[in-house]
Symmetry: C2
Subunit: 223 residues, 2 copies
């Protein structure tokens, strides 16, 4: 319980652990290694520090669990990340596809005073600009279905691009320039399971997406 405030590195770990827990995914070191793009030994020693400092516990089965203190810190950094995304998007007019990576750096320097002010100026949003729920608002997104589960002819509204897709700037740019962003309508054109692709039609024309990507894009069906 040494540390009062997590370092940026620890905040990154906390955020990913929280998100995996939220999604019901198995929270193990190998997942963190992949998502954080660091080597497995780095994860091992970092997790040891996190246990030492009271952010997480590790079960005998090597599962990672946030402590109450860890949950609080994780929620705080995710809130600040999402508020920063909105600030960059709405106040500074940065492109939707770029705000995640900018916010990912800035989130670690935001004080609670700034956070409160952002909540005020941005009208306490329940979702980030990509449709992911603020901590405590998970119920909003729980009614949306993965795009991968649609069938040909479905009329849909794009609602959410999962956090882990936000990490890929090339993908995000592709999604933005093809209008695959929250609030936009589309119709499912064609699904090719053997090809692992799904094709939709929207304002900007015909867009093809890999089915793996489509699993992490959530939609609402129209009437």
């Amino acid at each position: 319980m040494t540390e009062l405030t997590p370092t940026p590195t620890i905040e990154d770990y906390l955020g990913i652990i929280f998100t995996l827990e939220r999604d019901g995914e198995e929270v193990i070191g190998a997942r963190l290694s992949e998502l954080l793009e660091v080597s497995a030994p780095t994860v091992t020693v970092t997790l040891r520090r996190m246990v030492r400092d009271g952010w997480i516990n590790i079960t005998p089965a090597r599962k990672i669990e946030l402590t109450p203190k860890g949950v609080d810190a994780a929620k705080a950094v995710i809130r600040r990340h999402m508020l920063t995304e909105w600030m960059l998007a709405k106040i500074l007019n940065l492109p939707w596809s770029k705000v995640h990576e900018e916010a990912h750096r800035i989130e670690h320097s935001i004080s609670s005073e700034v956070e409160l002010s952002l909540i005020d100026k941005l009208d306490d949003p329940a979702l980030c600009p990509h449709g992911n729920p603020m901590p405590g608002q998970e119920s909003i997104s729980s009614k949306w279905k993965p795009l991968s589960e649609c069938i040909t002819g479905d009329k849909i509204i794009i609602e959410r691009i999962h956090e882990f897709l936000e990490e890929d700037p090339v993908l995000m740019d592709y999604l933005e320039s093809n209008q695959i962003v929250p609030g936009k309508q589309a119709v499912i054109n064609e699904i090719l399971p053997f090809n692992k692709t799904i094709t939709l039609k929207n304002e900007s024309g015909i867009v093809t997406l890999g089915l793996d990507i489509a699993k992490s894009i959530y939609i609402e069906k129209q009437h």
Copy 2:
């Protein structure tokens, strides 16, 4: 010349070196040690890395000089610091006395895209909220005189609180709550050289300041 982008620590060093150079002060390790509040050996090794990476040169007489690359990096971080101060003050309505320390953390995570957007939203300010000049705008502040050089009865306008005073949050809070902020009027009430104090009268009443502090507060005399 290894590093392309300075670390936050190096950016802090660069900013202070730039400001000392600008003010015509002697730029030596001991000054950095004081202003950065780190030990002398820490400064020695950090400066060695800065020479190695091409940010500074150190003369045989132990004077520190920014290289052209160092000047560019220093100007960038100072610009971002000041723009962030304005963003916090004008857009997020944080108190004037608090924006420096918040901006000092955030400045290291601002990209040039965000910087350009801030310049646009904030109408390309020439001064920070404390009246210090943006890099390249030094001429604006050069006509102001130190408050310490006033005489009893002078009618003045506060114009500038020097960067190095911004570092002291207790002082900044004192100044703000006593209306010693850029744009405010005051009259010199009493100067006590033996006591090293200067007393002024303004909207908020009578305020006493130490003469050392008054040396770093710049004013304009009224007709």
